[in-house]
Symmetry: C2
Subunit: 475 residues, 2 copies
Amino acid sequence: MSQRRMGATSLSQLLGQWHQENSRTPVYQQLANGLRQLILDGRLPLGCRLPGERDFSSLLDVSRTTLTSALALLREQGYLISRQGSGSITLLPESSPAISPLPGIAPVLDLSAASLSAGPEIHHAYSTALTALPEHLSSTGYNSQGLLSLRQVIAQRYCSRGLPTDADQIIIVNGALNGLGLVLRLLTGPGDRVVIENPTYSVALSTIRGALCRPVAVSLPASGWDVEGLAATIAQTSPRLAYLLPDFHNPTGRCMDEVTRQRICDIAAASRTALVVDETMVDLWFDKPPPPPMAAFDKADNVITLGSASKSFWGGLRIGWIRAPRKTINALIQMRNTFDLGTPILEQLATIALLNEAENFLPQRRNLLRQRRDTSFAILSEIFPDWKTSQPEGGLSWWIELPKAQATVFSAHAESAGIRMGAGPRFGVDGAFERYLRLPFTLETPAMYQALKRLQPIWQQLMEEPSERTRNIIV
Amino acid sequence: MSQRRMGATSLSQLLGQWHQENSRTPVYQQLANGLRQLILDGRLPLGCRLPGERDFSSLLDVSRTTLTSALALLREQGYLISRQGSGSITLLPESSPAISPLPGIAPVLDLSAASLSAGPEIHHAYSTALTALPEHLSSTGYNSQGLLSLRQVIAQRYCSRGLPTDADQIIIVNGALNGLGLVLRLLTGPGDRVVIENPTYSVALSTIRGALCRPVAVSLPASGWDVEGLAATIAQTSPRLAYLLPDFHNPTGRCMDEVTRQRICDIAAASRTALVVDETMVDLWFDKPPPPPMAAFDKADNVITLGSASKSFWGGLRIGWIRAPRKTINALIQMRNTFDLGTPILEQLATIALLNEAENFLPQRRNLLRQRRDTSFAILSEIFPDWKTSQPEGGLSWWIELPKAQATVFSAHAESAGIRMGAGPRFGVDGAFERYLRLPFTLETPAMYQALKRLQPIWQQLMEEPSERTRNIIV
């Protein structure tokens, strides 16, 4: 396993509010539940060595016996392995609830992923692609920049959004996240700082950590972006790059205005900081389209844009792209040999068909999402009247403020009941957002209603005095 | 750019035999050519800082002025950028010959990649996949372990090769190289040692270096494998894992016998070293099928097997898989969130169709390759009678021993004439294999003949006294 070691301070920050004062659940079980949740949702990486018991127990303010019992329970459940001289190392049990539901429980309902199923245009696009395939079959199929014809269509879309772009400025990758990984490998080394919005897209955060970079958080204010905070953070920490989601930010659903785009581009230019802008959600707007791409405000070639077909079209297409200055694209093409050897040809051909037809079906997709946003808001208001949220301008989910900072405990209980949740701390650093949940509105309305109804008693129990029944659910 | 810095000693080792004693090409140009070749074929990573000029020039035994002139030339050609206080950093020029041919030169003929074009079965497989697609369209398309139906077919193939395997022991990835990257991310950290065969598959070497691991070489003897050398290297260096190609080793085309497989598995078990076995070429045998998979000799769950559809079927399908113990697979599934979010559904369905039909078209593919191997051998013997090689038992290429250690210079000249070559040092560490070339026999015979004919005068010039014409080709 890897040599990563988690310090006692970092891990206790990550654990956040694991302890419920008046609970009848023994403290060691609560601690084990908190750690298990961190492992399950990937905030505590697999193969990571836990801190020494003496330091860790004193920082957590629990007895050594409590900590030992918690670790013993996790070992028994298959979440830790202890090796002589190496301490305890995180892993997943052979049949992990992250993969299959717990035995005897209804199939897992996944409220942690925000994604729609495919529309009829997907099958049609693949059929079109199949007719275009034969001319590519005489090649070896390896193509590290991606098909020129696809890059041209993508470049054209940037042009029509107000950003002159040439096909040479595009590389096709296996999804936006794969693109982020490639950019990180090119621009960063272990220990480098990467500025993120806090909260941010949880999987991007895992990717940044997976590249052994240190995320440096700039908190999002109640609305918009904290431009001064970003400038100060860049000045103070000299990050290698900043990863931003201006177009229907995930998880909050907000959109950055033109003035802010310009100011942030200017800050990046002055400090020569690369801005990596993830536009995955850009097509999913509800009321009005977003301003021109961030890169259109960039006079200094500092912006690298990540695009994706996964949310606009379908997640089962694993296609994304990177738009960047030509020099960066050339370097990325070569860097790719350390990563993968290109993107499937047929997927690229299908994406051409989809991009060509996009304006015929995207309006309908936006309508569908707008409806689901509105009906899910009505259901939420009825079932959880004390939850607060604000209307997302685009994207796929609600960012919900809970009346109590109990998101981790809540989602641990929900997981045991077969519902996977996106607890707030997954979207932030240092255990922040214990008071938040991300809730996608991508499910069809009956399924959404059913899921929220199943969550209702779990939440109510948490809000009330802890009882014997709560303990049973936790165990 | 990244913080990697290349030490003077490492870089001069990497450069190997860059200097031709009696050449009329100025020394600074020869040095620039050598460095350019390292950048072009990826041995000198992009974004890498060159060593300080004082140390570097003294190690290379050239004057400071020579080094400065060489670096100036590379800067002018776009292969280096110099930043105040950061020294010289490698990059690729905007229009790089690694991507497009040099202006005014015939299109590049690529003899560096070993891969076939697609047979008629590929289009047929995608058509079959398209009829199976609709049942998957109601899902979000994200599937981090891969389709169960594909994993079952793959597991069944391992069973029929003598290795009992369950679908739970498989994860589908985007090609074997992507699988290697995922395994490296799980099992290693920066600076960890990874044992490799020397020579080995060049792209795997880039992937290992890209993961910031240190390759530790065990040289291949004239035939077979050096089991004692492997055991001693493992004992002395405590590597995290060893990456091996027992089934038609790339680039040598040899196959490991059963006794050696058993001994290496026993060594790995005794030292608890993970063996990562790349079976990409396993279907491409000429005379007899290979022994059972390496993992069949493993009693201690130490072997992780990488499989691929790229060589058996087509490189334009980006499908690979990992077979490993269940615990490792579960950890890889979670690790994948730091990498990509899964493999395209349709590609997986097409691979099912191909695996089901494989025994109907693989024999023909093997025949084709056997013929190309034999005719290319005849052509090679005619045009380059002083080159030596031995018959590969499988795979796609010749590993050729040249009469002079000039592979890097030869391939630099060939590149300028529009032919990309796989110079030996790409397949090894520390500048080894200057006397070797990898030459794929995947081209159709007329194209192969034409390519070798174009190489003939370039090689002859190199063998003779250097002349004014050689200089012109180099410049």
